[in-house]
């Protein structure tokens, strides 16, 4: 059980480092959605049910959509 949580935390940190390294901004936004999804699973393991629902509906769906619409109106590649 504890090794599963260690694996999830390492996956979350790898996703955050990937959001720092990618040069295509759409890839960085997808990594942000991945970090938010794993954070919502960790909220469930900490017995916080309301917070997990709020994080997965606001952090994964709406923030990604707002970022993609904003990137479409500006540049796509970081220089």
């Amino acid at each position: 059980m504890i090794f599963f949580i260690v694996f999830l935390v390492l996956l979350m940190l790898a996703g955050a480092i990937a959001a720092c390294v990618f040069k295509d901004l759409i890839n960085a936004v997808i990594s942000l959605a991945f970090v938010s999804l794993i954070a919502s699973i960790l909220f469930y393991f900490l017995q916080a049910a309301d917070v997990a629902m709020a994080e997965v509906s606001i952090g994964t769906a709406l923030v990604t959509a707002i970022f993609v619409i904003a990137i479409r109106r500006t540049k796509r590649y970081e220089e």
Partner: protein
């Protein structure tokens, strides 16, 4: 193993805060900086919920009449984090609208090049 049991959530939350702060300090594209701000907010929320956890506790909902009020986790940090998540998305939307306006005015989103145009 005991160290791992106690500190793995703190390690994950502080790792996210440090990566987010590094992105804000060292990157020069404005949308990357806003992504770093969002990562840092997720890390802070995780830290708040991890402080309010009690070992062997369960979620604070009395869904059946025979559930007794022993061994429940702390409900006050969950109420604060609920507020913080919604305010985070409002700030993010406002920051992105300012980034769109900046791109329309200067033609670039690189912060070092925008700072050089002094007028």
């Amino acid at each position: 193993m005991d160290f791992l049991h106690n500190y793995i959530y703190y390690f994950g939350a502080f790792g996210l805060i440090f990566i987010g702060l590094y992105i804000i300090l060292a990157k020069s594209n404005l949308i990357k900086v806003i992504i770093g701000l969002s990562i840092m907010e997720t890390g802070v929320n995780l830290l708040l919920i991890a402080i309010g956890y009690i070992k062997g506790g369960t979620a604070p909902i009395f869904s059946r009449p025979e559930i007794k009020a022993v061994n429940m986790v702390d409900p006050v940090p969950q109420a604060l984090v609920l507020t913080a998540i919604v305010i985070g998305v409002a700030v993010l939307a406002l920051a992105l609208s300012l980034a769109i306006r900046l791109y329309g005015h200067y033609g670039t989103l690189n912060l070092r090049m925008i700072r050089e145009q002094k007028w």
